[in-house]
């Protein structure tokens, strides 16, 4: 199993912390995660949220690609809102900053995002955007005429471009084939099935619902990614003490943004969504997702912006030392496992 940090939300989580500092701390947390062996770090993206969640995974993705050296950088552009070539160009730039380390997990717009942009949350629109992304990143000049895109337009006034019926998005990404996942609820799972790309469930969805969502999305030998709220400390009691307010706070902000549902108690949320505890508890929970969904790539939030930066760094280290080896080091002898 592989592990990522995030998705980093970067919202204003406490009055005492300015957003510029939240962002800088998040970049430092990415570097910490890289040091402790995480495979990736993820920049979240949501638009028009009352608590000021990051609205550009492209800008933050570029910053993460610049600060880190080896780990992959996950970006989560919301599709269905603008011409997909803007997204294609931005991702190609990020991929060149990181020398080929980008993963894209496209998101389906929320109701409010689609409203604000006059966009579409439909499966058809997401599939069309994905086709444009792939053509844009591919080696050949292309044209694309669909219900949602006209690339390129033909305009008799544009004399310089007369006769050019194709375009080439430049620059190309550094890597040969851009990893592309899709994140969200029912529509995202449907897109994953049709486009045959990995479905990446967001952290706020509960395990019983995930069984149906993942159904038919897993490809033989392919990546099966999942995002979860995760916090780890030396004891389960300490993990709750440090993180429960921060995770509950984030969840309330997700509810305010129209992303998560808000009627559940914290205990109910923990049961099938959050992974909070000591190493053994976290390992046991992760095995549960592996067993029931076939998950083999977990993006663990760990970074909650109302928490003290130092506590987050310690949790990232502990996760890297106590959890990652359990799932990555096949054949790890028990004697060594017990050392940490």
């Amino acid at each position: 199993m592989r592990f990522g940090l995030g998705p980093l939300t970067m919202e204003v989580a406490a009055e005492s912390k300015k957003q510029v500092d939240v962002m800088e701390e998040a970049l430092e947390q990415a570097v910490t995660a890289e040091w402790w062996g995480f495979d990736s770090v993820w920049a979240g993206e949501r638009h028009f949220t009352p608590d000021h969640f990051n609205s550009s995974s492209s800008v933050i993705g570029a910053a993460l690609a610049q600060r880190t050296e080896f780990m992959r950088v996950g970006v989560m552009p919301v599709l269905g809102l603008v011409n997909a070539m803007y997204v294609a160009e931005e991702v190609a730039c990020i991929d060149n900053i990181g020398n080929g380390r980008t993963i894209v997990a496209a998101q389906i717009p929320t109701e409010n995002e689609a409203f604000g942009w006059g966009g579409s949350s439909s499966v058809d629109r997401a599939l069309d955007d994905i086709e444009v992304l792939r053509k844009s990143w591919g080696p050949n000049p292309f044209s694309h005429h669909s219900e949602f895109h006209t690339i390129p337009m033909e305009n008799p006034v544009h004399t310089q471009a007369l006769g050019l019926d194709k375009i080439s998005v430049q620059p190309k990404p550094a890597q040969l084939e851009m990893p592309l996942w899709v994140s969200g609820g029912d529509a995202a799972a449907e897109v994953a099935r049709i486009a045959k790309i990995p479905y990446f469930a967001p952290a706020h969805l509960a395990l019983p619902d995930l069984v149906d969502l993942y159904e038919g999305t897993q490809q033989e030998g392919g990546i099966v990614p999942l995002a979860r709220e995760v916090f780890i400390a030396p004891t389960t009691e300490r993990a709750y003490e440090l993180a429960s307010d921060a995770i509950a706070g984030l969840y309330q902000r997700l509810v305010r943004a129209g992303i998560a549902e808000g009627s559940l108690s914290f205990d109910e949320l923990v049961r099938d969504r959050f992974i909070i505890g000591d190493a053994d508890t976290c390992i046991e929970q992760l095995y549960r997702y592996e067993r029931e969904l076939g998950v083999n790539y977990v993006v663990a939030r760990i970074a909650y912006h109302e928490m003290h930066h130092g506590e987050t760094a310690k949790a990232i280290q502990l996760f890297g030392q106590a959890i990652v080896p359990e799932f990555r080091m096949f054949g790890l002898p028990d004697e060594i496992r017990k050392v940490v």
Binding site: Q19, G61, Q66, Y86, A92, I94, M153
Partner: protein, 348 residues
């Protein structure tokens, strides 16, 4: 004489026919250059430039790349000279600009231009004839998005319902610069009260004339431009001696003006008409005229100081010192920047 700020640029990240590079090398070099400039408090701003669908990979996504620059630097301001605003969705520009400004702790200078190449508009399915309206409506969308409350804008080009763009920028008033290459755009910039970026194709006399026009237009329109900056792009290079500077920079400058800019109908003949490859003689003459203009900021530090003082005397308050030429040896390039920062700017 007004104080003259100096920024450097303009980073285009092209892998050209004469100087092909892996794009990752170019982007890595930009981040290293940015960190290098960041050490010198005399260099105020690092400037980027944009085009789309161009064969040499000219950078298309300035605010995204600005995120990387922000992460690589602590002090230097980050500007666009310029983002081709009419080819973008204004609301997306506003969102990304706000995030860059937060991430950088308020270091964004948002530089906007109309854009002019047909096939860039075609690619995004935008009629080029709408570019002025898109620009003007787009500025309103951006300003509204940066303010408190919802946007709620109904125009012919953009329609945004009552949604609030978050995060907001770090700066209470993000500086907006408008690239102005002729009389109309200068008047437009004056109307908006925006700072301006004048083209590198101007003589000192033309520059003075454009700056006068900007202030006269603002006065006629009753717009307060007392805080606006007057920027100008000027190619330049600093070495220990004039001879070294000429040998290092002039061939690249000639190539840039003739092949890189000339072919795009960016240069003008003596009548002010655009020239392209279809009129090679006039193109050569136009490039030659410009080389002699820019030569005044190419040389040993004392000479470049004089060249910049001449520019300051026109009323310009910010020079974008354009040191990015194709295929230059890196050590000499960094040396030129260092001389600019330590021997030129402090002595202007």
């Amino acid at each position: 004489m007004a104080d003259l700020e100096v920024g450097v640029g303009i980073w285009s990240l092209q892998s050209t026919k004469a100087g092909p590079r892996h794009f990752s090398y170019l982007y890595k070099e930009l981040m290293e250059d940015a960190a290098f400039c960041d050490q010198f408090p005399t260099i105020k701003t690092i400037w980027q430039t944009e085009h789309h669908f161009w064969y040499d990979g000219y950078c298309p996504s300035l605010l995204t790349v600005a995120g990387g620059i922000a992460a690589a630097t602590k002090r230097i301001r980050i500007g666009q000279a310029a983002l081709l605003f009419s080819q973008h969705e204004a609301l997306r520009v506003a969102q990304q600009a706000a995030v860059v400004d937060q991430l950088s702790g308020g270091r964004l200078d948002l530089g906007l231009a109309l854009g002019y190449r047909d096939n860039e508009f075609d690619g995004f399915n935008i009629d080029r004839r709408s570019r002025r309206r898109r620009f003007e409506e787009g500025i309103q969308v951006v300003k509204s998005a940066f303010g408190q409350g919802g946007v709620d804008f109904q125009g012919r080009e953009f329609s945004v319902p009552d949604v609030e763009v978050t995060p907001k920028p770090y700066q209470a008033d993000v500086p907006i610069w408008v690239a102005a290459v002729g009389a109309d755009p200068i008047k437009r910039a004056a109307k908006l009260g925006a700072s301006i970026i004048l083209s590198d194709a101007l003589t000192l006399e033309q520059m003075r004339h454009h700056i006068d026009l900007y202030y006269t237009s603002a006065e006629e329109l009753g717009v307060d431009v007392s805080k606006a900056k007057i920027g100008v792009l000027r190619r330049g290079w600093v070495a220990e001696t004039d001879d070294e500077a000429y040998r290092e920079a002039l061939p690249s400058l000639r190539f840039l003006l003739r092949e890189q800019l000339g072919g795009w109908r960016y240069l003008v003949d003596e009548q002010g008409e655009p020239v392209g490859f279809d009129r090679p003689k006039e193109l050569d003459a136009a490039a030659h005229r410009l080389v002699s203009v820019h030569e005044r900021t190419i040389g040993r530090p004392e000479k470049v100081v004089r060249g910049l003082r001449e520019i300051a005397a026109t009323g310009a308050t910010h020079v974008i010192f354009g040191t990015r030429f194709d295929s230059l040896p890196r050590q000499k390039y960094l040396r030129s920047l260092e001389l600019l920062a330590t021997e030129v700017i402090p002595n202007i």
